[in-house]
């Protein structure tokens, strides 16, 4: 292996050729001799041992640093370059680094990554190029030691989390007159403050509370029911591979599942997540040990859309295996797919009989844009086709609604918040 410095040296030597052209062979031998000496005196890159350090999981779009330790077991000090072979979507900022490892010593190569895709991104090899003292020539060896970083979904919708949690807390401890339902639970008694509904005053408790200081009105407070079950079912079949605004429909569903899952887990519900296509691809449960958000994220990071038809017939069985009690079943799929009639609709009665079912779907905002364009003949035909697709999706939604299923449809960026609102509404009205 020769370097560009060797090229500059050769170009510099052309001055010697110009001045003393008859000695061209001497110059050639001199140049080759220098390169050969460099090659013989450089440290062996084979005597380096590459130790990869386990990187921590990272969210897509965030920065992280992965570390590799290089131990020099040779007798000479190594000088040269190290190149970490990260795949392009890992977004390595400095994969090529200058290194210097003393004989018997070690050094760290730190590569900054900004992963663009979720999943397991890896570097399969690290290449070490060792240069001689003159830097004219050297040796290169590929060390095939893989390093993998787990990239979690971006969870851009976590910006909605504080406001949704606040809404949940507002439910907690609110006087529950307007929203009293079968599911709200008695929480506690507290002193009346101005603004409370007078109908929530507990007269019996007020009578007991009388003391010398004066009148104290006591109100009953309510809290939303807890320890309910939420099951998030993510469809990762061929319909989820369709791209809406440069990201697969699956990613929109994942974001919504992350937001609602986190919200429900914080609200004290038991949340189960399962991604499926022909069979179950990934699961996570808030009953497992550890932080549920990280469990859910790492389960979701593995899911990739597959080009197979979804098998909804297994869904009731899978849900029954997760929970035998009444649950909120959220199915994240594509409502505008014609395949829904054969797949999901036949199994819905079995689900709605026992559970409350919500079907969430990412809407394609392109259809709305296309339906509004009416300039040319082609535009109008395309608009009609888009209108027809929307009518069909609406018909399916109406059909689902008639079966007692709640349908949430929204563009990809709005779906997480819309689904979270639906969850909060159901919880507030005690319909879980």
């Amino acid at each position: 292996m020769i370097t560009f410095r060797f090229l500059w040296a050769a170009l510099g030597a052309s001055a010697l050729v110009l001045l003393m052209p008859q000695w061209i062979w001497l110059w050639l031998v001199l140049l080759l001799g220098l390169a050969a000496a460099d090659l013989l005196t450089c440290a062996s890159p084979r005597r380096i041992r590459v130790v990869r350090e386990e990187p921590r999981p990272v969210r897509a779009g965030e920065h992280t640093t992965v570390t590799t330790r290089l131990e020099n077991h040779g007798a000479r000090s190594l000088r040269g370059w190290a190149k970490d072979g990260w795949q392009p979507s890992a977004g390595a900022a400095n994969p090529l680094q200058k290194i210097r490892v003393a004989a018997g010593g070690s050094t760290r190569v730190q590569v900054q990554l900004t992963p663009a895709r979720r999943g397991r991104l890896s570097s399969q090899h690290l290449t070490i190029r060792s240069l001689g003292p003159l830097g004219l020539a050297g040796r290169q060896v590929v060390h095939r030691v893989p390093q993998t970083v787990q990239v979690l979904p971006e969870f851009a919708s976590r910006k909605h989390l504080p406001s949704k949690l606040r809404r949940l807390r507002e439910l907690d401890g609110a006087t529950a007159v307007q929203i009293r339902g079968a599911g709200t639970e008695f929480d506690s008694l507290r002193d009346y403050v101005r603004g409370d509904d007078v109908r929530s005053i507990d007269w019996r408790a007020t009578a007991r509370r009388q003391d010398a200081a004066g009148q104290h009105l006591v109100v009953r407070t309510w809290r939303p029911e807890r320890d309910r079950r939420v099951i998030l079912c993510l469809d990762a079949s061929r319909t989820s591979a369709a791209r809406i605004k440069d990201e697969p429909r699956l990613d929109g569903g994942l974001e919504a599942a992350l937001l609602v899952g986190t919200l429900a887990a914080r609200a004290g519900d038991r949340v189960d997540f399962l991604a499926f296509a022909r069979e179950v691809l990934a699961t996570a449960s808030s009953s497992q040990r550890g932080d549920f958000l990280s469990l859910l994220s790492s389960a979701a990071s593995q899911v990739q859309p597959g080009l197979v038809e979804a098998d909804f017939s297994q869904l009731p069985g899978e849900i029954a295996a997760v929970s035998r009690h009444k649950s909120l079943v959220v199915i994240l799929t594509a409502v505008d797919s014609p395949a829904l009639h054969e797949g999901l609709l036949p199994v819905l009665p079995a689900l709605t009989k026992k559970h409350r079912v919500v079907v969430a779907s990412v809407q394609n905002p392109e259809l709305v844009e296309r339906a509004a364009a009416r300039e040319t003949v082609s535009d109008v035909y395309a608009a009609a086709a888009a209108e027809r697709a929307m009518i069909e999706a609406e018909a399916v939604a109406a059909e689902l609604g008639a079966m007692g299923v709640e349908v949430v449809q929204a563009p990809p960026e709005a779906l997480p918040a819309a689904l979270a609102d639906t969850y909060i509404r159901l919880k507030a009205t005690g319909k879980l």
């Binding site: 020769i2 380096i48 370059w81 795949q87 392009p88 095939r144 369709a242 791209r243 395309a382 608009a383």
Partner: protein, 404 residues
């Protein structure tokens, strides 16, 4: 220490195993090429003395060697021919002209040789070139006439003929040209052009096709060939067979090449810079380790099916159906906007929309209930009218709600 890279020996072995197929292929191809070069003996040159194809002279050369004892010595440049002439003072010369001209100076030497009694035979079908070479007395003549099936006419030796070989042959049958000359054999046309012409530089035979493996047995071709090239007792035992080639013209430039005036360092520097270019290729071409691949996800645009359906409508010119789809979409949307419920009939919706937008009920009714769309132009204006109505109703409803 557990090494993370293979040792040099095993790396070399695995590289050899990986490239095994290509190495074997390369070696095999090289061996085959070498073998075919070694075994290749056939001469493919036109009028070549070892060419056994239809256009070769192998038959003639073999008969000359076996029966007349003539040794053919082939030369390709004037320089070597000159040496051969000096070595063999008695040998005859055959000049086979095919495209390349012989040196001007050598031409004069040959003329001198002919005048001093050496046998010189010019063989060429290119009569124009020959006439230029052989001097102003010689002019190109007509070609040998051919019959209906392409068979050339048989030519008799003619009365003027003095050459014993032509006399012995009596006639030849061959395609070819002719030259006008004072004397000669096998006259053509008006009798002034000859196939075998006597010129100041020697005999010129303008039908070399006659002596090929294909034609040598026709008429008196064989007798003429043997007579001309050494069938007689006093014929020379050696024949110098000169075919002018590119080697003659190389040194013939009278103008000095500009390259000879270059300074001494020029060529070493050029070679050095070429070497530098090679170094640049190697330095830039060595990459850091294997190519890294990225597993790409499937990519299916979600709007594709709707787009395809739109194109299908257009190709089928489905004007009425398209209008129907647009109408039902707007009816649904207006019903939702005006809060008329999911099952409102078009008439109700039209009336409510007309009231909200402040437009004529009949006009809106016609738009929403009986679309009259016949052509593509109608369709576009209908679609735009629907959009306009929708916008008016939306604005009116929004206004009303903000007032409430």
């Amino acid at each position: 220490m557990t090494a993370t890279a293979a040792s040099a020996g095993s790396a070399a072995r695995s590289a050899a195993a990986r490239w095994k197929f290509w190495i074997f292929l390369l070696v095999g191809v090289l061996l085959l090429g070498l073998l075919s070069q070694l075994l290749e003996t056939s001469d493919t040159e036109t009028y070549g003395t070892e060419n056994t194809d239809l256009d070769g002279y192998a038959a003639l050369a073999n008969v000359l060697a076996d029966h007349a004892g003539v040794e053919i010595r082939r030369t390709y440049s004037a320089e070597i021919t000159r040496e051969a002439l000096a070595e063999e003072p008695d040998a005859g010369v055959v000049v086979l002209v095919r495209g390349f001209e012989p040196e001007q100076q050598f031409l004069q030497e040959l003329q001198a040789e002919w005048e001093s009694g050496r046998e010189v035979l010019w063989l060429s079908a290119d009569t124009v070139l020959l006439s230029q070479l052989l001097g102003p007395e010689v002019q190109p003549g007509p070609a040998v006439p051919t019959g209906a099936a392409g068979t050339p006419q048989e030519l008799a030796a003619g009365g003027q003929c003095t050459h014993p070989a032509a006399g012995a042959a009596e006639s030849v049958q061959t395609p070819g040209g002719s030259l006008t000359a004072q004397t000669g054999c096998f006259p053509l046309g008006n009798g002034e052009s000859f196939l075998l012409a006597e010129t100041p530089s020697g005999l010129a035979f303008t039908a070399p096709e006659a002596f090929t493996n294909q034609r040598i047995t026709d008429a008196g071709n064989a007798a003429l060939a043997l007579g001309l090239l050494g069938g007689q007792d006093d014929a020379p035992a050696t024949l110098i067979w000169y075919t002018p080639s590119g080697a003659d013209t190389v040194g013939a430039d009278e103008w000095g090449s500009p390259l000879t005036y270059l300074p001494g360092w020029f060529w070493p520097l050029v070679w050095w810079l070429l070497l530098c270019a090679g170094i640049a290729l190697f330095a830039a071409g060595r990459r850091y380790g294997p190519v890294v691949s990225e597993p790409m996800p499937v990519s299916v645009p979600a709007g594709e099916s709707a787009e395809g359906r739109g194109r299908m409508y257009q190709r089928a010119n489905a004007v009425a159906e398209t209008a129907q789809v647009l109408r039902s979409a707007h009816l649904l949307r207006l019903a939702r906007l005006l809060r008329l419920g999911r099952h409102a009939v078009p008439q109700t919706i039209a009336e409510a929309a007309a009231r909200a937008a402040g437009r004529d009920a009949g006009e809106v009714g016609a738009l929403l209930e009986r679309p009259a769309v016949r052509s593509n132009e109608d369709l576009v204006s209908y679609a735009q009218a629907l959009t306009g109505l929708q916008a008016q109703v939306t604005a009116a409803v929004r206004m009303r709600r903000s007032h409430e």
